[in-house]
Symmetry: C2
Subunit: 413 residues, 2 copies
């Protein structure tokens, strides 16, 4: 008998019929002898509908505290309905709001972080043979204020609950079949991964695979909770996200991913002296702009060029700041480009294979795609290219790294 | 500077524009120098929409616990939106769910009773210059389970909060102008009362005036909180509900009211021995049927007739019970009639006027209306008549007691 945490997103509980389907799935797990806690998001469309209501009263600038009180109703509605649907199948179930399940967060409304879960009550319900139905996405701070964890927060709730309960595994039910080697819409030859390491998943997630919230994977990695990302529409296995050691089939490249949500800014000819970077990036950070890649060219003489990327939504603000700060740094010019895309290859295997970067650049060169920026980490290589080449680049890299069977058996360490 | 609790029902917050109107009203009170706590119900239609959702999963028989979790989202949504609307007018506001405001109830889901309010947090918000926006209708029990107080529960929340805060008054905003001497739809000559005593209001409310929940008036009476029932659509004064001593303009009859929601059952020829009533009404109570009027005729010889009224919705069940029990009591027959109506006149003044009952019977006789049952209390006389005469009876009694200026100055005691 295992203790399983199951998470169902908003599309899985979008209407009464889907809620019933989730209920049947939960009850089947229970009848298979497992103890089951279920985390649900708000019904699809509910959160946006609530945000639209809030728009009438101040919109994005409205009180984050009250916005959280409003949004938290979405998940509360979903847990009550799912608990009722499970009960209708003859299985005891009990719903828990964040307050009731003791899910404590900090006080950052709209993007709160989980600090602690007191699993006593959930455990008591499970011990009594109940299915515990838990509200995702929401929390309470030390003062009893309602908070929310930000979009995708229900994944984090599920994993955090799994940690608190010392669950055997956490199943993330989604509307896709699992984690793919590339976006199947872009690359028809993309294939589903059977297993992937937490670290690879983190790189893939942060680069645009929308399946799983990055924060939840980090928590799962820290607490070694195996995740099973699978379809809520059929019974087939999905993708297991687990410890590196347990990923037997180690690929050089597990996936090719992309992000067209960024823009590039180059500040040319700034003085190459200590503190220059801080004077440029400090004001950007103060403005709440998250800088992703930063590249500083080898300096010619006493000046250098700084190039960086920012979310496309912040492009105009970031340009304004760069144009204001640049001259003070002696810059000879500031250029921006929001017609870019970032393409990355990710894989544990590349740790041991020096040739991955070279092969990547070669593949792109053969397609006549110019590389504007390069960034690397231990298990990821990213390039910035012109946006119009994005699909071509993803397909070419996927063909070269994944489809050509460029696999190695799990490397002995 | 007064401390005012204001209560707005679901029709007052039915849409964004109405929520804005409520916000302006609240801010006006605040700007007049008062400390203001506002209790709101769910937006009109919301509670029914939530119940419809629950219908998909077991309907009325579904878990009352989960049904309360679901319903409580309605008020939570309303407090967040109203707090945002108030903030948009430049006035600090903070919303409170039942859990956050420390509103403790017993554990009777769907019809919980308030046990205690810990007003510390609300007081702190008021002290900080905030408007406190409080969720009506909901509570939490000692275990932290969400409960609801039943339909009209927001009135009770408002009055209970007013007691806990030792408020100077509690304003109940409704879609009518105040308390009328009769239903204006039935009696065009009905007029708004300026003041009415708690006790009169209780009799009027329990007899079918839908303006104010009876339980809330009882609490207000116990704690001597003046209520001001007034329109949310204009600024004019409504009706004050207050202590008998403060109701200067004491009318013999303050109002004529009616109830067509009952049915009558007569059990004839039962043995007139001790314990008979208990043997009849015990099983009805066990079945959860609330008996309203009970009349026992003067016994002829050793038998008597028992006549009583029950809610029309329980008529069939009550008849079945009476037919089962009756023969055991020696009854010669059980007859039922659900084509009846109860009409009552209510007024503090009748305490000192013996002639009210006689005048009432005379008025009805002159209209050829037969009286089937009579029940009296200190400040109320009720009669049961054929339903088809109801409107006629109400109009005739209103004309005789209210329109004819049958007023007396406040009686010296």
């Amino acid at each position: 008998m295992s203790l399983i945490v199951q998470k169902f997103g908003g599309s899985s509980v979008a209407d009464a019929e889907r809620i019933r389907r989730v209920a049947r799935r939960v009850v089947a797990s229970r009848q298979a002898g497992h103890r089951v806690a279920v985390v649900v998001s708000a019904m699809e469309g509910e959160t946006n509908a609530l945000l639209t209501l809030a728009d009438d009263f101040g919109g994005p600038d409205c009180s984050a505290r009250e916005s959280d009180v409003l949004l938290a109703t979405g998940e509360q509605k979903a847990i009550a309905l799912l608990a009722l649907a499970i009960q209708q199948l003859g299985q005891d179930a009990q719903s828990f709001t964040a307050t009731q399940m003791g899910l404590r967060t900090d006080s950052q409304h709209g993007r709160a972080r989980i600090e602690h879960i007191d699993a006593t009550r959930i455990s008591a319900a499970l011990d009594a043979g109940c299915v515990a139905v838990l509200a995702g996405f929401q929390g309470t701070d030390a003062e009893g204020q309602l908070t929310t964890l930000g979009r995708g927060g229900s994944d984090t709730t599920a994993v955090a609950v799994a940690c608190a309960l010392k669950a055997d595994l956490c199943e993330i039910y989604t509307d896709v079949d699992g984690i793919f080697t590339a976006d199947p819409k872009l690359v028809p030859a993309a294939r589903k991964l059977e297993r992937i390491a937490y670290s690879e998943m983190i790189e893939l997630a942060s680069l645009g695979s929308k399946v799983l919230q990055i924060r939840s994977v980090k928590i799962a990695m820290n607490y070694r909770i195996p995740l099973h990302v699978r379809s809520s529409f059929h019974e087939g296995a999905g993708t297991w996200v687990m410890r590196e050691e347990d990923v037997m089939e180690r690929l050089i490249v597990s996936g090719v991913t992309y992000n067209r949500g960024e823009a590039k800014i180059r500040v040319s000819g700034v003085k190459d002296t200590p503190g220059v970077a801080a004077r440029l990036f400090g004001p950007l950070a103060s403005a709440g702009i998250v800088v992703d890649m930063i590249v500083q060219n080898v300096s010619h003489d006493t000046t250098t060029d700084m190039t960086f990327t920012v979310p496309r939504a912040d492009f105009a603000r970031a340009m304004a700041i760069a144009e204001k700060i640049g001259p003070k740094l002696g810059s000879t010019g500031v250029e921006g480009d929001d017609g870019i895309a970032k393409v990355s290859v990710v894989g544990l295997g590349m740790k041991d294979h020096a040739g991955v970067a070279a092969k990547m650049f070669d593949v792109l060169a053969r397609e006549n795609i110019n590389i504007e920026m390069i960034g690397t980490s231990e298990i990821k290589i990213s390039v910035v290219i012109e946006e119009k080449y994005m699909e071509l680049a993803v397909r070419a890299l996927h063909a070269a790294f994944v489809e050509d069977g460029a696999e190695t058996p799990a490397a002995e360490k």
